[in-house]
Symmetry: C2
Subunit: 314 residues, 2 copies
């Protein structure tokens, strides 16, 4: 059995095309119905403002499956610790024996989450998309943009955050780190006005994006909501979008954006099905496409296998 | 972070009164409604005749909670490997940081499962119980009897197993290991005829015990069923017992004996509630008491904390 620490993992696994292909293969397998993926195990620890989620999936024919344990303890910053944490374990899919423990402290979750946003944009955004609006200014606000650069020629970032000082710091960092043109806006509407791609990356419990904020031809990825209380998109967006996609229907209904639009009657695609079928969901440059990402166990099994392969290379 | 292997854990954690008290404290907390315990995560891996279960629970006020991952791969014996496996992880209940990993390979599950049987008998069997009937001849057939010795003056074991040669081997082992009088029977009815306590320890999908097999005054613990397909007790037993107890109602209904008696209308106690309230459920020496155990996350959190305390002692 091999045990790997965050530093070792981060030295090998990067936001690059190979990692994107690994996660995309997981979505495609899901779309081909080749994946066993039970509902998420979720426990609240109210006394510490904490929660722990466990996700898993097995892709038929793969030699190993991952189980990921993700604690989120939201009073940690006051203790000088990050809120998010966790590890992934790889088990033999033939014997159930533990094969590797990846003490990634949430690093691989950050990566596979950002890559899912890139995969959504790859299949849904206009080919010529250059301008990204980002709502929120945390870790994913950076990583989503970094991952989008793998699939589109991103030039400009337009950011809005409730916390203006965080947005300013984000802008400085993104200019220095990626050489992007970054503009801070004082509203989501202003940030989105000329966007080709919008990514919402907040833990908001109230919509941060309205239908009226969205220009023609935009693609929207909402990646913040992962529990029943969180909600980033006004339900009108789900109803009015030309194309609506989710990572997993059952999860989006239970803890994603669909949870806040229970009466919605329309066609909803799963991202994996679009990939598996090679279907072009966007049929014109004017259409508005929307993808809700809740985070799936198949991404964890895909990225953990990918990480282990890199770590095991001699 | 500390990592412990099976040998280290088995050297410290024994089937003794201290371990029993630790698990009983977990049940009592559950009975006082002081436990967060989400439904079990369960995934099947059909291509390898395997499954993986994840259980967790947090006891309010405790410093650490456990997450247990239990793979069961039932073609393993043909490969020279045990079917059951797994590990427990202890996390800080304040920060979510991993504190210890117990690579116990299912050892602690065996222990806490046997102790739950002893705890059920402690609270439900007659004080003068001496004769145990055991249905099945596997690991739990031994450990349930060993654990019962902590709470009752067990003298005789009456065993029945579908596989007669396993029952004979079991009898030899139990005589040598524990100095017990052990008799092998060719039916469950014969094994139970004069029993004070009956324990069913099988993975059967058909009842192994009939109401007509049970003598007056007996206590029955059914610990084998832990998925919707398994079933050890004829539903009449659940309907006719004077006292019916389960470890967790929601679990017994979903994957225990209550799953096979959906129309049952009667009072059902949870074991933890009896303990928490100090209630004597048995009111006469003639009553028949029944307890269905499905295995709960609170037992895992209790035994993992207990094990870690012993392992951390200098």
């Amino acid at each position: 059995m091999h045990i790997y620490k965050r530093e070792q993992i981060a030295a090998k696994v990067k936001l690059d095309s190979a990692a994107l292909e690994a996660v995309e293969a997981g979505f495609a397998a899901l779309g081909r119905d080749e994946v066993a993926m039970p509902p998420i195990l979720s426990m609240n620890i109210a006394e510490s403002n904490g929660e722990v989620d466990v996700k898993t999936a097995h892709i038929r024919g793969w030699l190993r499956f991952a189980v990921k344990i993700s604690p989120g303890f939201f009073d940690n910053p006051a203790l000088g610790l990050p809120s998010l944490n966790g590890l992934m374990l790889l088990f033999s899919a033939k014997t159930g024996v533990v094969d590797a423990v990846l003490f990634d402290e949430g690093y691989l979750t950050d990566i596979r989450t950002a890559l899912a946003g890139a995969i959504a944009a790859k299949h849904l955004a206009r080919e010529d998309a250059q301008r990204v609006a980002v709502i929120g200014a945390g870790v994913q606000a950076e990583l989503q943009v970094a991952a989008l650069r793998l699939v589109r020629d991103i030039r400009e970032v337009h950011v809005h955050s409730r916390d203006a000082s965080k947005a300013e710091a984000y802008a400085v960092h993104m200019r220095n780190q990626y050489g992007l043109t970054v503009t801070v806006h004082n509203s989501a509407a202003a940030a989105c006005a000329e966007a080709d791609i919008v990514v919402t990356t907040t833990p908001s419990r109230e919509p941060v994006l309205r239908w009226s904020d969205l220009p023609k031809g935009v693609h929207v990825t909402a990646m913040g909501s992962d529990n029943p209380h969180k909600n980033e998109l006004e339900p009108t967006i789900l109803a009015s979008a030309d194309v609506l996609v989710v990572d997993r229907l059952s999860q989006s209904r239970a803890l994603g954006e669909l949870h806040h639009a229970p009466a919605l009657q329309r066609e909803v695609f799963e991202l994996g099905s679009l990939i598996a079928e090679g279907r072009k969901a966007r049929s014109s440059a004017e259409q508005i496409t929307v993808c809700d990402l809740t985070g799936t166990g198949v991404q964890d099994t895909a990225i953990a296998n990918y990480a282990a392969r890199l770590l095991e290379e001699v």
